[in-house]
C-alpha cells in the first residue's frame, strides 16, 4: 500500500476547465472518498491518478515516486469501474486471474490467489460462470476480486455501487467498508452518494464544478463545512437555507423567526444566510411557530416541511408525533447547531463543528 500525492493538478478539455489546480494528499492505508455531483471533476481526478488521462499540468506521486509520465499499466494501481468492465469472453476465474496472467505469475500462485479472493468475496460457486450469467451484485464482486487479486499500491473505485439496487447497495457498502479496513488498503472512492462517503471514508474530498471545496473527515465535513455548497451537498434530508439579518441584540432574524445566536459577533444589520439541518430543528410547546406545509412519513421518522413568512425549512421529528398539514406548530433550534454563511461568497461564518464550546464534537 502507498501514500498518494496530487500536486497542483489541472485538466483542460479544449476551453473547459475540468479541474482547477488540485492538491490532495492521501495517506498510506487511508480510505478517501471523492464526493460531488456529476461533472464536478471527481472521476477526472481518478482517471488522472490512474493514468487513463493525462493532467494538463501538475504532478502525481505514489509513495514519493513521480508517476505523472508513467503509463497506467506501470503504476500498480487497481481500478473498479462503474460498469464493472469485466471481460465478457472470460470466465469469472479467468477474469480474476487476468492481472496475474498478464504478469506471467506462476500457475500455482495464480490459482491460490484467485481462490483466496473468491472466498473473501463469496463467489467461489460462480468461478466457472461467465459474466453474462451473473447478477449485478455478483459482477460487482468479480470486479472487486480482479482488483484484490494482486497487491496494488492503491485501489481506485469509480462509483462501484451505483448500478446496484438500493438494498444490495447498503449491504455492499458495509461489506466494502469492512473489506478495505481489514486489508489496510489505500483507496480512493468516487461517489455522488453522500451517505456512502460519510459512512465509508476516513476523509472526504468534496468537489463542485472542477474545484475541491473541502478535504476533511466526515464529521468535520458535516458539522464544520467550509462553505454553503459543502453544507448543501452533505446531509439527507439536506440543509435548508434562509435569508437572515443580524439584529441589534446579535440574534438572527429570518423569515419571521428569530434565532438566538451563539457565535462570533456579527455587525447588526448584516445580511447572513442561515443554514438549518432538519435534525437540529425540533418541535416545541412555546417559541416561534411555523405552518406545516408537508409531512413525509418514513416509518422510522417523519420529515416535516415548514413555512414561516417567506422562509421554508425542514424538521426531522419522531415517528409517533401527530403533525397535521396546515396547522401551525412551535419550533426551536438549539443555538449551538446554527450554521451561518456569508450570502455573497458562501463562506462559513459559524458552524457547530467550528465552535470550541461544542466540546462533544
Amino acid at each position: 500500500m502507498a501514500a498518494i500525492t496530487l500536486s497542483a493538478i489541472t485538466k483542460r478539455f479544449g476551453s473547459f476547465d475540468a479541474l482547477q489546480p488540485l492538491s490532495l494528499e492521501v495517506q498510506d492505508r487511508e480510505f478517501v472518498a471523492l464526493l460531488g455531483p456529476s461533472g464536478c471533476g471527481k472521476t477526472t481526478t481518478l482517471n488522472i491518478l490512474a493514468g487513463l488521462e493525462a493532467p494538463t499540468s501538475g504532478r502525481i506521486l505514489i509513495d514519493g515516486r513521480d508517476v505523472t509520465d508513467i503509463p497506467p499499466m506501470q503504476r500498480n494501481l487497481a481500478m473498479v469501474f462503474q460498469s464493472y468492465a469485466l471481460y465478457p469472453h472470460l470466465s469469472v476465474r479467468r477474469n480474476i486471474a487476468f492481472p496475474l496472467e498478464v504478469r506471467r505469475a506462476p500457475r500455482a500462485e495464480i490459482d491460490s490467489a484467485v481462490a483466496r479472493a473468491a472466498e473473501l468475496l463469496e463467489i467461489t460457486p460462480y468461478l466457472d460462470r461467465y459474466p453474462r450469467a451473473l447478477s449485478g451484485g455478483q459482477r460487482q464482486r468479480v470486479a472487486l476480486g480482479r482488483a484484490l487479486v494482486r497487491k496494488p499500491a492503491a485501489f481506485l473505485l469509480d462509483e462501484p455501487l451505483s448500478n446496484l439496487d438500493a438494498v444490495l447497495r447498503l449491504q455492499m457498502r458495509a461489506e466494502l467498508s469492512g473489506l478495505f479496513r481489514s486489508l489496510g488498503a489505500t483507496a480512493l472512492y468516487v461517489t455522488h452518494d453522500q451517505a456512502e462517503a460519510m459512512t465509508m471514508a476516513d476523509r472526504i474530498a468534496v468537489f463542485a464544478a472542477g474545484r475541491m471545496l473541502q478535504f476533511a473527515p466526515p464529521l468535520t465535513i458535516y458539522r464544520a463545512p467550509a462553505d454553503r455548497a459543502v453544507a448543501a451537498f452533505v446531509g439527507a434530508p439536506p440543509m435548508m437555507f434562509l435569508d437572515g439579518i443580524v439584529t441589534d441584540g446579535g440574534a438572527i432574524q429570518a423569515g419571521g423567526l428569530t434565532f438566538p445566536a451563539r457565535h462570533a459577533p456579527l455587525a447588526p444589520g448584516a445580511a447572513v444566510t442561515l443554514g438549518l439541518r432538519p435534525e437540529d430543528v425540533s418541535p416545541a410547546r412555546d417559541g416561534p411557530t411555523a405552518e406545516v406545509v408537508l409531512v413525509e412519513h418514513y416509518g422510522g421518522n417523519q420529515v416535516v416541511t415548514l413555512r414561516a413568512g417567506p422562509a421554508r425549512f425542514c424538521m426531522l421529528s419522531p415517528p409517533d408525533m401527530r403533525i397535521e398539514q396546515g396547522h401551525r406548530i412551535g419550533v426551536s433550534v438549539d443555538p449551538r447547531n446554527l450554521y451561518l454563511f456569508a450570502p455573497d461568497t458562501g463562506r462559513t461564518l459559524a458552524a457547530p463543528g467550528l465552535d470550541p464550546r461544542n466540546e462533544t464534537r
Binding site: 503509463p71 499499466m73 487497481a78 471481460y87 498478464v102 504478469r103
Partner: protein, 270 residues
C-alpha cells in the same frame, strides 16, 4: 399481398440468373442454339460437368488455386487489416491523421480496379512473379484490406472503452490489450470480415486474369477460356459457373448470422 409480390419479384431478379446458369449447365450442347428451344431443356445431361472435370484434371488444379488464393488472401487481409483498424480506432494521432488514413482506405475501396490492372501487371512482370499464387494473393489483399479495416473500425468503435481501460489497469500494454481482450471480443466481426473477404477473392476476375494466365489461374478466369476461337462453350461455362457459385451459396447460408452481423456492424449495439 403487395409486399409478398415485391419479395417474389426481388427474389426472381436476384436468383433468376442463377437458375438459368444451373439449367444451362445440364442442357445438351445442341439444344443451346436449336430453334424453338424452351427454357426447360427436353433432355438433361451431365456431359458439361464431365467435360469440365474430366480430361487433364486442369479444373481441379484451378479449383485448388482458387482455394489456396482465397484462404491466403483472407488470412493476410485479417492479419493486416485488424491491427490496422485497431490502431486507427485507438491511436491519438495529431492533425486528425486517423481520419485521413481511414479515408485513404475508403478511396482504395471505390476506385475502379482496371486503373491499376496494367501497372500491377508491369510490377509483377518486373519482379518475375507473373502467374504465381503470390501475385494474385497480393492483388486480392490490396482489394480486401480496406474493406476489413472499415468493417473492424465500425465494430471497434462500439466496444465500451472501459474494458480496454480495465485491461490497461490490469497491466496490459497495447499489444496485450489487442490480443487478450480486443481480438476475442471481435470474433463476430472478424468472422464476417473473413467470410466476405474469402468471397471477394473467390469471385475476383479482373486482377487474377491480368497476372495469372496459366499456372495460378483461378476458376473465374478459367470460365473466360471457354470462349474459344471455335465458338463459345455455353454448357461448359454454365457447369463451371455452377461449380464456382455453389460453395459460395452454401457457405453464405451456413454463415448467414455472421454475414448479417458483419453487414450491419456499427448500426446496432452488440
Amino acid at each position: 399481398m403487395i409486399r409478398r409480390l415485391a419479395i417474389i419479384l426481388a427474389l426472381a431478379v436476384a436468383l433468376g440468373p442463377f437458375v438459368v446458369l444451373m439449367v444451362n449447365s445440364v442442357r445438351p450442347s445442341d439444344a443451346f442454339l436449336a430453334p424453338g428451344a424452351g427454357f426447360i431443356p427436353g433432355t438433361i445431361t451431365l456431359d458439361h460437368y464431365r467435360a469440365v472435370f474430366g480430361g487433364d484434371g486442369e479444373t481441379l488444379r484451378f479449383l485448388a488455386n482458387s482455394v489456396i488464393i482465397a484462404t491466403a488472401t483472407t488470412l493476410l487481409a485479417l492479419l493486416l487489416g485488424a491491427p490496422a483498424a485497431y490502431a486507427l480506432a485507438r491511436a491519438r494521432l495529431p492533425f486528425r491523421l486517423s481520419i485521413v488514413f481511414a479515408l485513404a482506405f475508403l478511396i482504395v475501396r471505390f476506385y475502379p480496379k482496371i486503373t491499376v490492372a496494367l501497372p500491377y501487371y508491369l510490377i509483377m512482370r518486373d519482379l518475375g512473379w507473373l502467374d504465381t499464387h503470390l501475385a494474385v494473393i497480393l492483388a486480392h489483399v490490396s482489394v480486401t484490406v480496406p474493406f476489413v479495416v472499415w468493417l473492424m473500425l465500425g465494430f471497434l468503435e462500439e466496444l465500451p472503452p472501459e474494458i480496454e481501460q480495465s485491461a490497461m489497469m490490469d497491466g496490459c500494454n497495447a499489444w496485450g490489450r489487442f490480443v487478450r481482450v480486443v481480438l476475442p471480443l471481435s470474433m463476430p466481426a472478424l468472422g464476417a470480415a473473413a467470410v466476405l473477404t474469402a468471397f471477394t477473392s473467390w469471385n475476383e476476375f479482373l486482377l487474377a486474369s491480368t497476372v495469372a494466365s496459366n499456372d495460378a489461374k483461378t476458376l473465374p478466369v478459367r470460365i473466360s477460356s471457354f470462349i474459344t476461337d471455335k465458338g463459345i462453350l455455353w454448357g461448359n461455362m454454365a457447369a463451371m459457373g455452377t461449380v464456382i457459385v455453389l460453395p459460395v451459396a452454401l457457405f453464405a447460408f451456413a454463415t448467414q448470422r455472421y454475414l448479417v452481423r458483419g453487414l450491419t456492424v456499427g448500426a446496432v449495439k452488440g
